[in-house]
Symmetry: C2
Subunit: 378 residues, 2 copies
């Protein structure tokens, strides 16, 4: 359908054929005084060329006030001419600062980014990055090992998403005395954490379905890697407790006939896929309580394409309230959690830790949730 066919082509645009890649003086002086090994200009090169000490060069960049205006400008001029810029790694080794905050996520990046919830979380973290001048490092497992990734990460500290406190990653962070904040998990008192009221949220969702008269309800959870939901931990456990509490009010439990727990990847595709399992149930459930909006979207789409009408044949209530959830067809009934704020608060907490140098009292933040009833539940 397109003009070009996905083939690699040379565009040959080259608007600036004569573009100077290295600054003028560099090439010549490079040879003059054999530069340090691999060709990159270092602080010594500048010092030599400018006939000052390395100290002076360093000052010129970091505390120009401590140099006479003349020297400072001279040094900077030489640096510019030679195309010099301080090596950030060497600098970090001294300052012990990287100006990056890490987001440790338990899955690979493609999986993470398939779940729009993370984009929301990152928006919040990003607000703090913006104020504090930080970059944001996504730290997924490295060759399968999240600990290895953690060991290798060049960051000032981390936000740890959805890991349990006894996870090796947390141990590694603690050992290296890297400040961190835990998000979406049960954290012990001495560790900073941010959560939302998952239990209450799930309870509201289930109660809503029950009040609507539903009694055959599927709970769509996320891949947990445990044998059964009784072994859930962290937010999954919290939410199951919420569901259970609501069911209990109607004399039901998670093990009652009609109630069942299905799992899928937390993404649209995951939801689409889990519908197969759901419709294979007989009798088919009349409602689904889904642990993430993206999954709910996928579920609804799959339902529709299989002729199962939402909400008539299947009521669906999600969890998150992503920005797009009310643009859907039908608009999604869901439990709103302040995902952006979650990220922001976590990052703020992290900054506190970072600046207090371990002296800060760890805080535990719990954010509220609310049920948003729209069209996908009747």
């Amino acid at each position: 359908m397109s003009g070009t066919d996905g083939i690699e082509i040379r565009k040959g645009i080259s608007r600036e054929p004569a573009d100077i890649v290295c600054a003028d003086g560099a090439a010549s002086s490079e040879r003059q005084r054999g530069r340090s090994g691999n060709g990159r200009v270092t602080i010594s090169d500048i010092a030599l060329e400018a006939r000052v000490s390395k100290t002076a060069v360093s000052f010129a960049f970091n505390m120009p006030g401590r140099l006479s205006k003349q020297t400072a400008e001279h040094i900077l001029a030489v640096a510019r001419r030679m195309g010099y810029t301080p090596n950030p790694i060497a600098r970090s080794l001294n300052t012990r600062r990287t100006n990056a905050i890490g987001l440790i996520v338990p899955q690979d990046i493609p999986e993470v980014m398939r779940n729009p919830f993370f984009a929301e979380l990152m928006r919040g973290v990003g607000e703090v990055c913006k104020c504090g001048g930080f970059s944001l490092m996504l730290i997924p497992p490295m060759r399968g090992s999240l600990v290895d990734a953690t060991y290798a990460a060049l960051v000032d500290g981390c936000l740890v998403i959805g890991l349990e406190y006894d996870d090796p990653v947390v141990k590694a962070l603690t050992q290296r005395r890297i400040p961190f904040v835990m998000v979406d998990t049960d954290a012990p008192a001495h560790v900073a954490s941010v959560n939302v009221d998952d239990c209450a949220g799930a309870c509201m969702a289930m109660k809503h379905l029950l009040d609507l008269g539903h009694r055959r309800i599927s709970i769509i959870s996320m891949d947990s890697h445990v044998a059964c939901f009784e072994e859930y931990h962290g937010i999954l456990r919290q939410r199951m407790q919420g569901y259970a509490a609501a069911l209990a009010e109607h004399g039901l439990s998670l093990r009652s006939p009609g109630i069942c727990v299905l799992e899928c990847e937390p993404s649209v595709e995951g939801g689409r896929h889990v519908f197969e399992q759901l419709r294979a149930l007989s009798p088919m459930p009349t409602a689904a309580a889904v642990l993430g909006d993206a999954m709910a979207w996928g579920l609804i789409e799959a339902a529709r394409s299989h002729g199962v009408a939402v909400p008539k044949d299947l009521a669906v209530v999600g969890f998150d309230d992503l920005p797009a959830s009310h643009l859907m067809q039908p608009a999604l009934t869901t439990v709103r959690q302040p995902a952006v704020e979650k990220g922001r608060r976590a990052a703020e907490l992290f900054l506190e830790l970072l600046h207090s140098d371990g002296a800060a009292v760890p805080k535990h933040i719990m954010l509220p949730v609310e049920l948003v009833v729209r069209e996908s539940s009747v």
Copy 2:
């Protein structure tokens, strides 16, 4: 609506009150042989404690094969006991590798993450990160300066999104000889780049609208920071050319009466907001060609809430084809671009550069687009 009210609370869960934070031997030996300054265990501490050289310790971690099994295990044991882990910054200073790939984005993170297109792009980049064992660093402007952020970034190289070749950031990258790939921009022949056929895509979209009979068409572009669309560059210019080409076939131009160009932030909010401007036009346009799906979603939502029916009163065609675009109400007609692949190809290109050490011939990849007609256009 929630049980707890967003107040900071102490959860006091502390399942492991006796949790040992530092490994056993650490605290004692710490005092024994005054550890290097600030308390963190270094390679020297381990060397001393294990009665071997620093080299041996280094080998134990990086090339255990070069040590006798005994020594290696002894060293590792001591390290474990003292809670030692190599400092990744010091290591990077030597190896010149950070195992991180940077994504240089021209806006702040919150703005970036509000545009779901980036999540798609990152999915693709993430696939490569996964294979190569990289982390992904989001590099937004630092205190307003993207160049400063670039200088400070601890990465092996970068993917540069939407910047022109003559941007100072690109100059900085070139100067420091940091490998990079440009995405979504006109890149000169000697620089690796990945693009989609923006021009063709826009042309198809406009032609579609024109064929449907529309003659009063608003083009919704993204914030450009230039005075008028004639000054657009990069993908915006490409797309405008596409629109213009289609219009030309019907004897129209971008300056014809009935045609107008509006700008907004590339997000749902942006689209919602720009609808105000669109409806202020008189006569109101009967169609909108939008440069991003997220904006189109917002536009459609705002239209609906103002009683303007889509597609009856306003036909809308987007650009991107995000995963959620066909879940919308109405499902969005749009130009599909392979965003995930774009990210993947860019990252792959980057890896080639990185491994070839500058010897690689820069490639230019152009990916195809296609028009997906759904319900938002009639």
